[in-house]
Structure formats: C-alpha cells, structure tokens
Amino acid sequence: MGGPTVHPADEIIRLRRCINDLVSVAALPAVWSGGNPSQIASTLPDVLLSMLDLDLVYVQLKDPIRDTPVEIVRVAQSRKLAVRPHEIAELLRQRLGPEVQQWAPLVWNPFGDGDISIVPFRLGLQDEVGIIVAGSQRPDFPEQTESLLLTVVANQAAIGLHEARLLGEQKRLTNELDQRVALRTKELRAAVDELQLRLSMLQTIPVAAWTVAPDGTPDMVNQSWFDYTGQTPEYVSSDPEAWMSTLHPEDRERASRVYWNGIRSGRGFTMEARFLRAQDKTYRWHLNRAVALRGPEGKILRFVGTSTDIEDLKQSQEDLQRAEEKTRLIIDTALDAVIATDSRGTITTWNKQAEIVFGWNYNEVIGEHMPDLIIPERHRMAHERGLRHFLNTGDGPILRRRIETTAVRRSGDEFPVELEVVPMKVGDEWAFSAFIRDVTEAKLAEKKLRESELALRQLTETIPEMLWSATPDGAIDYCNVRLLEYTGFSASEIIGSGWTRLLHPDDADQAARVWVSCVATGKPYRVEVRTFHASDRTYRWCVTSALPLLDQQGRILKWHGTVVDLHDWRLAQEELRTTQAKLAHMTRVMALGALTASIAHEVNQPLSGIITNSSTCLRMLSADPPNIDGARETVRRTLRDGNRASEVITRLRALFSKKDLATESVDLNEAAREVMALSSNRLQRDHVIIRTEFANGLPLVKGDRVQLQQVIQNFLQNALDAMSDVEDRPRQLLIRTERDKHDHVRLIVQDAGIGFGSQNPDRLFEAFYTTKNYGMGIGLSVSRSIIESHHGRIWADPNDGPGATFSFSVPQDPEGVTNVRGFDAPRTPCRNGVARNP
C-alpha cells in the first residue's frame, strides 16, 4: 500500500462504500439468475465501472460451442476515448499476447499520454470461462479494496456465468426438443395430407383399381370401377365373386380360374377378359392385373390390381395385326421371293417363296446379312460397291427394273434369277425390297425351245423327204435342202411362183390349176406329176401334196407340203402285178400236190376196170370153147373205162395248162360240176352233204374256164376247211348258180363251217390274210384277181346261221348262147349220191 495518506473519514467512507459494493456484488448471481452468459457479460463491465474508478473494462467469455470468444469492452463515461471499444479489444489482444497470465501490468494508454494499469482476473479456475481485464490511469490502481472487489466480482461472475451456461444448455436442449417435436408434427401432418391426396387420387384415377384381401375378398374398390360396371360397394362386398357378374359369360369360367389361381398361389395374375360397360351395355376387353402386397416378413397383406379398358387398343392392335397379316399373306403368297433389307443389308423380310427358292427358313435369316446368304461370293464386292454408291449419291443403275443375274441357294448351287430391287426411304434410313424369281425352269424351257427349234430345223433339213411351205396366197416360201438337191434348182428359183419349172412341161399347167384352186378353197392339194430329177436329168413321177394350217377361225395360215418320188414305187407296182400273176400260177401248182391224190384216184379207178376187164377178156377168149359173149361184154366195159380215164386226163390238162386269159364262153354250172367231180374224194372223206342249185337256162359267161374253176375250187376248198372241225351239225354245202342283175351271172358257195367271226369280210381277200392255221392266205386274194380281171365282183357274207357264203358275179357273154343243156351234162365222177340236184 504505500500510497498517499488518506483521511480516516474518507477511509471509513471508502470502506463503507466497499462493503456496499461487496453486498451488491454478492447479489449479482441472484440478479443474473435465469440470464444467459451474454447478458452477464454485458452487465459485468457496467457493474465494475459503476463501483470502481476505472477507465476501461474488457470481458472475454469463451463460448463452449463456438470457437470465437465473446468480447465486451466498456469505457468509463468520463473518459474521452478516441477509439471504438472493439479497436481497444484488438489493441489489447495485440499488445498483450494470447496468454492472459503473461500480460504486463502496465500498458500504454490508449486514450492519451502515459500508461494505463491493467489487472486481469480469471473467470473460473483455469480461465476456462473467460477473463476480465480492468484498467485505470491511476497510478495506484489497483488499490487493495479494488483488488478484493475485482476478485469477488470475478468469482461471482464465474459462478454466474457457469450457472448461466448450464442453464443455457438446458434451455437449448429444451428448445431443440420442442423444435424437433414441432418438425415431426409438421411432417406427420404433411404425410397425412399426402395420404389423403393419394387416396383421393386412387379413387378418381381413370382406371378401375382395387385391393383384394389375401383370401380373395374384394377389399377396396375405387370409384372408377363402380362408375364403369354400375356395381355398388355393397354389391361388390356381398360375395367374393360378386364382381364377376360384369364378365362376359364366355370369359367368366376362365377369368374365375385365373383369378383364384393367382390369389391362392400368391403370384397375382394378368388376364384379359371382357367387361360389361354399364354406360352402353357393351362388353369391352380389359387387361386385369394384380400383384401381391407383402409385409416386412413377406406375408401377403393385400393384392393390388387394376382393370384397364383395352378395347380400343385391342381393336387398333387387331386392325394393325390384320393389316400386317394381310401384308404378310400378300408377300407370302407372292410368286416372287420377296426379301427386304435395311441399308446395311440386314434382312427384315423373307417370304415363303424366298424360303422355297433359297432353302433358308425365315427364322434363320432374319437379322442376317443378306449378301452372305444369296449373292454368289464373286459378286458380293460389286454388290457392296453398288450399295455404297447408291447410299452416297442416290444413283442406282440397276434399281427399279428387272435384271437377270445369278443367285445362290443354301446348298451352294447357283441358279439364274430375275431380280428387281426397289429402294424405299423409311424415316432417314434407306430400305430395300427385292423381288426375285427363280428362272431356272424358264431358262431350261427356253433352252429346250431353242433345242427343239434347232432339232426341227435339223429334222426338216435332214429327213429324207422333200418338204416345202407356202404362204396363204400360194407363194412358195420355203423348200428344204432335199428338194433343192433333188431338183437341182436353187431356192430363189423356186420361191414364189417359180416352182412350175420343176415339173414336166406336160404336167405343169394342170398342177398349177389344181394349186390355184386349192389355195382358193383350202382343200388339200395332191397331184401326181413328173418332176425334174437333177442327178440323172430325167423326169420322175412324184406325188406332190400339201395341207393348209388353219387358225381357230379356219383361216389359212400356211401351206405345208411334201414331194414324194413314186417313180420306183410305180415300177414296183407293175412288177408286183406280174409277181401276183406268177403267184396265182404258183398257187395252182401248189394245189397240184393236193389234187394229185384225187387225180390218181380218178384215173386209177377206170384203169383198174380196164385191166381187170382185159384180163378177164383174155381168159374168156383163151377158154375152150372161148366165151365170146363174155369177152364182148368185158371189151365193152374196157372201152367205157378207157373213155372215162381219157375224160379225166383232158380236164386235168385244161386245169394245169398255164395260159393267158383265154376268153371263151363258159357254162358255170358245167364248170362247177367238174370242180365238184375233182373234189369228190375229199367231199366223200369229210362226209360232206353237198347240195347244188344250178339255175336252168343260165347264161354263159365270157372268160377263162380254168381260172373260173380255180375260183370255185378255192371256194369249195375253203368251205371244206371251215367245216373240217364241225361235229355237232351236218356238214352241209350248197353250190348255187343264178342270174344276177346287170347281165351278170352269180355263183355262191355256202357252208355250215366256223364262219369268219367278226372279221371284216373285205380283208379276207387281202393277200396273205388268213384265219386258218395252215395255208398261205393267198387263195382268196388270187381269186379276187381272177374275178376282177373278168370285170366281176367277189365278196363274202356271214350266214344267218353258222358258216359263211362266198360269192362271185361275172358278166355274161353277150354273144354266148344260153345254156340249155341243163342237167344233160356229160357224166361226171360225182356219184354215190354225193352231188344231187334237189
């Protein structure tokens, strides 16, 4: 203490004031109770300034939450400070350093000259609360009482601040809790509002929505459902399946099954079914979906579902599908293979025909790179180049027109195709449709046609026939090489009307007339003309004929003709006629063998009589006495038999003498009798009952007796052959002669043989035609030649009963006398009742 002397009264007053101040200070905590640290911090300097003679008070309070401390500076009102309090605080911190304990007790006076004494007091044991700095210009500062007071104030402040801090913490916690509660309350309210919103949304969304309890009972059904179906909430909840009454009857069973399966399995369901729309009483397709709503443990709480009217969608989908189906069908039934690709060549369409043509199935090629599948490898580069060129320039020389190229099948075989590629702009992308036709067959057909044309040309040029054709107006327009070679003319010489120069001058005019007439009428052309033959420079007989080729209206399109050389044939025919005559003679010679037996018989009979009679005669004459009467009788019989033998020989000589048609008057009755006589042996042996009906007064005919007899013999022979196997009926034979019309005489031979069946009777007269197992089939042919050379007619008829009738008819001899001999013919060998007139 060592200051100036102080008056005791003053001392007392000062002490009293000190005590008062202490009391005030002691009351401070009560004043501060409930306050916060900043309140305390702000009242603390005021209290110190009012109690002590201080120039400044600095309070620094550490904030337990924030790093920056609270600083308060108070300056005594009496002091004139040139600076602001926060500048003082700054100055203090700079001059005094961060450690309060090391602050010097004197610092410069921030308010004027000289220094100022400062005293720091810690608040709290370790200044963890803060510090108080008191400063005064008085040199005696701090006095003892001032230190005491400051210490007490500092303690009190530390306590108060500590309490205030505790209290503040409490308040802060309470506040925080309150705020949290308020926030939570607000959140809950918002959530409720949201839920409300959602619920009303669920109720009003334009889709029928519902929840179903795990047992399948409808739980919540929204308004849209009721509006749509016309059902009421009460109705829906009356039965688990009540809602199903809205289903189309046809869908009900299936829908019910799917519904319950989905509910019981817990998997929910998706199904389409028709619902009755109450508004217009129509059934419309709905898509119904339900999913299980599960709790935390996986237990099903509800099924949540919707029913969406998809009728319009479905309708348009069906329309689309139908349109697509139609397009697909059109493409699939197209005759061409249709392939579409995008701009990179990826296949997007591949129709049925493409499957057939290329051997790849739709599923195999979709998405594949088209050139790899159908373009032969050597063409792929060119294809890619062309494609790029088109995509870059829009120029595609092979596009939009039919081209012929080569494609490759799955098997690797290449084949010709007709191809048309059409580019299409789809959006910004190019796409290509290719229409491809397999022309293998067409190519083959074309080739065949070419070959056939070639073959035809070769045929017309190489066949050994002469061919020509002419235009409808008769002008020759084609002659084949054969014809040119034959005639030695050139085509240009014949073409048109030059053809007549091929013909013999005597025949040309007539042929030309016929040709003109045929061209005019369309009748077939046929002439026999002498045609020039180049190789031996002669004219040879040819038949030239032509037929018109007509169109459907009968108009002549063309004449096609041939020239046939008949020259040799004509010669051959004449030769044939000679041969036939020779053959006729040969036939007679062949008949000789058969006749020999009967000749021998006919001759041996009288010879036998002659010899026997002569022997008897000799014996009678040699007897003693000679039997003259007997001998005379035997000689008479000998003569008779000798005549008989002579007759036979005469006839045989006539029959076998070869001579040209000897025209004489012939009595057919007589001729027939002789033939019968010659055949009597056979007639007898075959047990044939022969009947003759020879007409009285039959006119004579003009002809060769032997030849006519040969015909009769042939008839007779055939008749006997036809009856040789007949056992079940009499072997009857009728020979009849009669007058025929046109001054002809007819002879018929009717048998009861096997006949000639269904054979054409005319064929019987063809040479080498025979129905017999033996024989040459030449007899009737020769007979016909004979009768025809007699200007007569020969024919055969089947009988009404069994057998056949052969007839010939020849002209009568105009000069011939009527045969009046009737039956007074010379005796013939036809005895023993074989031949009898009725």
Partner: protein, 123 residues
C-alpha cells in the same frame, strides 16, 4: 359139180363191181359184188364167203371198218384190200392187222391170183 369157194367183192366203184367178179369166176371162184360194207354185212353171204376183196376208201363204213366189224362178229374171213390211193404206208399197216394182201389199183390178174392163192393157202 364141184362146190366153188365164194369170193365177195366190196367196192363202191361200179367198174370194179362189174369187172372183178367175171375175172374171179375165170379163176374158178364163185363171186358176189357189194357196193358198200353195210350191204355186205346185211347180206346172207357172210358165212359162205371164203375170201373178201375189200376196197379201202368207201363212203360210209370203210374197208378197215368192215374188217374190225367182222373180227368183232368172229368171222375169220381172209381179206385182200384193194385201193386206188397209192399210199406206200398203207400196205404194211394193213398186213400187220391181218390182211392177206393189199393191192393198188390197177393191179394185174397175176397179182390178184397170187393174193387169192395166199388166202386159200394154195402153194
């Protein structure tokens, strides 16, 4: 008067029927002529006939037919066939079947006499 053996001639040829019996009588036989086999069978001369001169080819029953019929009736008559059909195969066959001889017309009186001698076993 010596009883003469009967030789019957069966032939459908009239000249044979007229000439042959006279010659047979000249040979010393009794002779009868028949125009067919049927006529001979129907006659009363079968049993008396000691030799038969028989034509082969006749209308109706033929010579061989008659031969078979006589054998069936147990008539042992020697037969000399005569025929106008000169067929070389005919004769051996007929001889094989028991004929005495087969003569082709025309035949000589000597040939006929030889045949008759054979039939009557005259050496």
């Amino acid at each position: 008067m010596v009883e003469r053996s009967l030789v019957s001639v069966v032939d459908d040829d009239e000249s044979v029927r007229e000439s042959l019996p006279d010659l047979l009588r000249e040979f010393g036989y009794e002779a009868k002529a028949f125009s067919s086999a049927e006529e001979f069978l129907a006659s009363e001369y079968i049993d008396q006939t000691k030799c038969l001169i028989l034509d082969i080819a006749m209308r109706g029953m033929s010579g061989p037919d008659l031969q078979r019929e006589l054998r069936r009736l147990r008539h042992q008559i020697p037969i000399v066939f005569i025929t106008a059909h000169a067929d070389e195969s005919t004769r051996p066959r007929l001889l094989e079947h028991g004929a005495v001889e087969c003569l082709s017309k025309p035949f000589s009186d000597a040939a006929l006499l030889n045949a008759l001698n054979s039939a009557f076993h005259v050496s």
